[in-house]
Symmetry: C2
Subunit: 330 residues, 2 copies
């Protein structure tokens, strides 16, 4: 069998987001054979939602050229809160009407294939561990940078789920305990309140509220000043935007270092939309980490971008299905 030929068994991964459901069939090496995206229509609630998830899965199987009989197990990654062991969504803030939903059982009944539930940040980290930038490492911490700051932790090949499914919620570690910014979750001083795309935009708006501040960002409608606009302006040499990007790199380095002094993984990964800022942004994070961390992890722990992009979630969810139900399962 050639290196690029799909390797059975096959798994279906589904990545449930507030806006879209991404799904794909993944082979035993962690390679995606298909990839589809459909709108979540979260507002229609959980019962309709399970049907949306099932159809997204069916589309992915169809697109892969395989049949359902070839799918060994299904993995679903979802935002929390949840009870991973019970396969229950509890009160997911981005999925109104999906409360207390036994989503694993419902999806398993609908699809007729063994199904596992995992937190989306954990699933993305597991995807990178299995088949992405963490391949070959034993322990991985991954931050997913978007509207919020997601996180997942893999130690010795196992996801750190936590005893109440709150393991790896590291967007909500407290990095500024005195006078910290308000987080979207309502807490104060959380990493996410400083380092999310939302925070970059908010910090830009705050700076621009001072009429004395000169910036190319003033040429844009204030409502269009988001993290992408800031990254672009920084790349074009705008001083304010450069400062905002540099601060963000520092905040992320603080998060990475606190995890290096807690989990001490082989590698810390950053994924999500914000890594479009490119290699100079990563270099800034790496420089801060090298300065802030203890000498041994500073020298030995890798800090890199993730490799799987928007596929990390469903590939990782498929990997979780494989870990529990496949021939290589635990």
């Amino acid at each position: 069998m050639s290196e690029h030929e799909p390797t059975p068994p096959f798994y279906l991964g589904i990545d449930l987001g507030g806006t879209n459901v991404k799904s794909g069939v993944v082979d035993d090496m962690g390679r995606a054979l298909s990839s589809v995206s459909v709108p979540t229509h979260a507002e229609r609630g959980g019962k309709e939602g399970v049907e949306t998830l099932a159809r997204a899965g069916e589309k992915a199987v169809e697109a892969s050229g395989l049949t359902w009989k070839q799918i060994s197990a299904v993995g679903l990654g979802s935002p929390g809160t949840m009870d991973i062991e019970q396969g229950m969504l509890l009160e997911p803030p981005n999925l109104p009407g999906w409360e207390n939903l036994p989503v694993r059982r419902l999806l398993e009944e609908r699809l007729g294939v063994p199904t596992v539930l995992q937190n989306d940040g954990n699933a993305a980290a597991y995807g990178e561990y299995w088949a992405g930038a963490g391949k070959g490492q034993r322990s991985v911490v991954m931050f997913t940078l978007g509207t919020g700051v997601g996180c997942g932790i893999v130690v010795d090949g196992r996801i750190l789920e936590g005893r109440h499914s709150h393991g790896g919620e590291c967007g909500h570690i407290i990095v500024q305990m005195i006078g910290g910014r308000r987080c979207s979750c309502g807490g104060d001083g959380h990493l996410e309140a400083y380092a999310s795309a939302t925070s970059v935009a908010r910090r830009a708006h705050e700076a621009l509220a001072d009429p004395a501040v000169v910036s190319a960002l003033r040429a844009i409608d204030i409502h269009d000043v988001d993290s992408k606009a800031v990254a672009l302006a920084a790349a074009n040499g705008d001083a304010l935007a450069i400062r905002l990007v540099e601060e963000t790199a520092y905040y992320l380095a603080v998060g990475a270092v606190s995890l290096m002094h807690t989990i001490d993984p082989d590698i810390v990964l950053f994924g999500g939309g914000m890594i479009a800022a490119g290699p100079s942004f990563l270099a800034m994070i790496q420089q801060h980490v090298a300065r802030l961390a203890f000498p041994i992890p500073a020298a030995k722990t890798q800090v890199e971008y993730a490799l799987l992009g928007g596929h990390a979630g469903f590939i990782g969810a498929a990997g979780c299905a494989r870990a529990l139900h496949g021939p290589s399962g635990r």
Copy 2:
């Protein structure tokens, strides 16, 4: 066999500190059969140090009424830095002259019994997990409050050692990333810079430097204003001391919550000299945790004092010896 009769096999635990070496024989249930303490004389260096460790161990075996033949394995807990897997001390700041010391091999050769090395904070956490306040739990985070802030993490019965022996170095997570206090390690804004006994004393000195501040602590020589004096003054109703204690409780709660959002253990424990401040101090920490943590861990994660006191280190080290070399080993 009665519940209180010692249960073989037996293990020797040795807890190496910068000032004293504590040692004891521990039975298979985690009960200490003996407990001795001798001065470390760290300044005499590592070679002499191994002899001191061996003699402390011999005293503990003698005091237990057992013979060396009854000791199945030895566990040594030590401050870092170290390479746990290799059994090497690297550059322990509190043990000058002990650099690059293959302490596990040297001690094993000297005692003739299989020996394991573990970080002291990890060993204390494992002791509480095995035989103290974490008994019966699957996952434990423990902070040891003293001159510094030690930490250890046990997940599903295994110590989170990290890939470079820096797991659970949570005294050095960053809790105030902007304008943070300088830590003894040289870093800025670390938990230890706010919540150690040293920091309590420093913050008291800073407050007393303002002549307008009224406090009963002024009746004491400034050199005697330490964390114990602050705790005593707080218990006697001194407003400044009460504020310092309340702030310390908040800082510790911040550390606990960041770990609850990372590890999500069953229980977070606080041990070390500072817990002499008593149940009101614990209640303050618990109240802050309940307010700062996500609802589910806030409701479900226990936050308690440790139970083994100064024995946690050697009991935990003995437990590590048991885990690797005993009949119940992994």
